[in-house]
Symmetry: C2
Subunit: 270 residues, 2 copies
């Protein structure tokens, strides 16, 4: 008894994937996931219908199909397959269309495309994050939306890049290193943009494990060193009233959502 | 007449945002978007209900509300507000529950969290992408899932980082620069992993515009230089049978979806 999920679209299929995956992850079943983006011709649509029907025959289970399509003819084709089939935006458009008294106009490449106004923001923000990663320059903090600070390997770089690529938010990041620890304080460049600073911290054991993967058995990765650095950094956050979170149990998505929410950052993309 | 959309969750609210935004973008109306992630207490839920009701009073329009919640009491509270309200996964779970004859078990932080198996893959892939960005090292291509090649500013770096952060795919990238152009060929490190190579190209006018933003009026940004580099690179792709796409009209999401699909890459995250 094996299950299959298809995510299908004339675009990237990202919307279908997000909805389908979030829905199916609530059931304790094994699923093979198949994404079919950029279905743009009838031949492609028909080929896909064959694949779906073959899956039903070979597994005995009707595949789950989550799709978004602009082209109505393709919707009809997919709906005729031996599948449990969801046109993922239709449950919402019905009521909204009624309330607004406006018909929806599905447009190709409306979401997740280069035609979004936000697009150049995101590429600009990514270039900013790379150029201002890991304290390599500290002169451009006036341009930052947020400056993430923390010890080495506390999650600053992935969070900065995620904020840039997903939301067009310009995030610089600055590491506090061993040499700073005797007298930990904010540099002048940081002080001048203090309202933009957001601190990350992490549990010492988790930090030591992450550092061990990079430099096994080093002083850098020792639990004693990790404890010391984190203690000093957290003390400094408190002293300077810098908002901070402990990232130990959070993903990049969760850390980013918390940074945006706590700092009241403006997003350039939804 | 102004409209408001709320995206609400006890997690990141990413699922609610993706669905809500994709749905609402089909209507020609101005919308203010408000995301409220990590609603975890009754007090927070009640405060949010007030905000929604106040919006209705101040704008005269019932706000659109897209939510995912594990806690049923919070669902009930949100549903009682003066809003057009969608429990975004429920249209799909009803039918699936019937078909599978298994009740869904919504779990907190199931999607977009550090508890996904894929999480370490994604951070590892991001570190790989940063270390193997822009041809700075070419010795680790054996570990790559894909190697993106192309001229400077054709979209290699954002695509590499997006593949890593979203899907846990290890993407190196290698630039072909002016000095290579007299006799453009694949280096030995590239040749040894030829099956992993995917080429990017772009229209000369768009490339020149992007390069101008960085180095205005340089030879590097001249349309003549851009045309020459792209002509040489495309000729080389064809000669070596390297699959490639023109990125001019595509977003990072679209380029990534095409690379995954054309190269048959395995994703570590859905």
């Amino acid at each position: 008894m094996s299950h299959t999920a298809f995510y299908i679209s004339d675009g990237t299929a990202i919307t279908a994937e997000v909805i389908g995956h979030a829905t199916l992850s609530q059931y304790p079943i094994e699923i093979e996931h198949i994404t079919s983006p950029f279905i743009e011709t009838e031949a492609q649509a028909l080929h896909l219908c064959d694949q779906i029907n073959i899956r039903y025959k070979t597994t005995g289970n009707r595949p789950f199909v989550f799709f978004t399509f602009v082209e109505k003819a393709f919707k009809r084709l997919i709906k005729q397959t031996d599948s449990i089939c969801f046109d993922v935006l239709s449950p919402f458009t019905k009521e909204i269309t009624q309330v607004l008294n406006i018909e929806p106009t599905p447009k190709l490449h409306r979401t997740h495309s280069i035609h979004e106004e936000s697009y150049d923001h995101r590429i600009g923000a990514m270039n900013y994050a790379l150029a201002n990663d890991d304290g390599q320059t500290t002169q451009h903090y006036d341009d930052a939306d947020v400056i993430l600070v923390g010890v080495s390997r506390s999650g600053k770089t992935p969070t900065s890049l995620y904020l840039a690529l997903q939301y067009g938010i310009k995030a610089a990041n600055y590491p506090f290193i061993e040499d700073d620890m005797d007298d930990l304080k904010l540099s002048n460049d940081l002080k001048q943009n203090k309202k933009k600073i957001f601190g990350l911290t992490i549990e010492p054991a988790r930090l030591a494990a992450i550092r061990h993967e990079r430099y096994a058995n080093s002083k850098y990765a020792s639990i004693r060193q990790c404890r010391m650095e984190l203690r000093e950094v957290e003390r400094m956050y408190k002293k300077n009233k810098i908002p901070y979170i402990n990232t130990t149990h959070f993903s990049v998505e969760e850390i980013s959502a918390k940074v945006i929410s706590e700092m009241g950052l403006e997003r350039h993309k939804y």
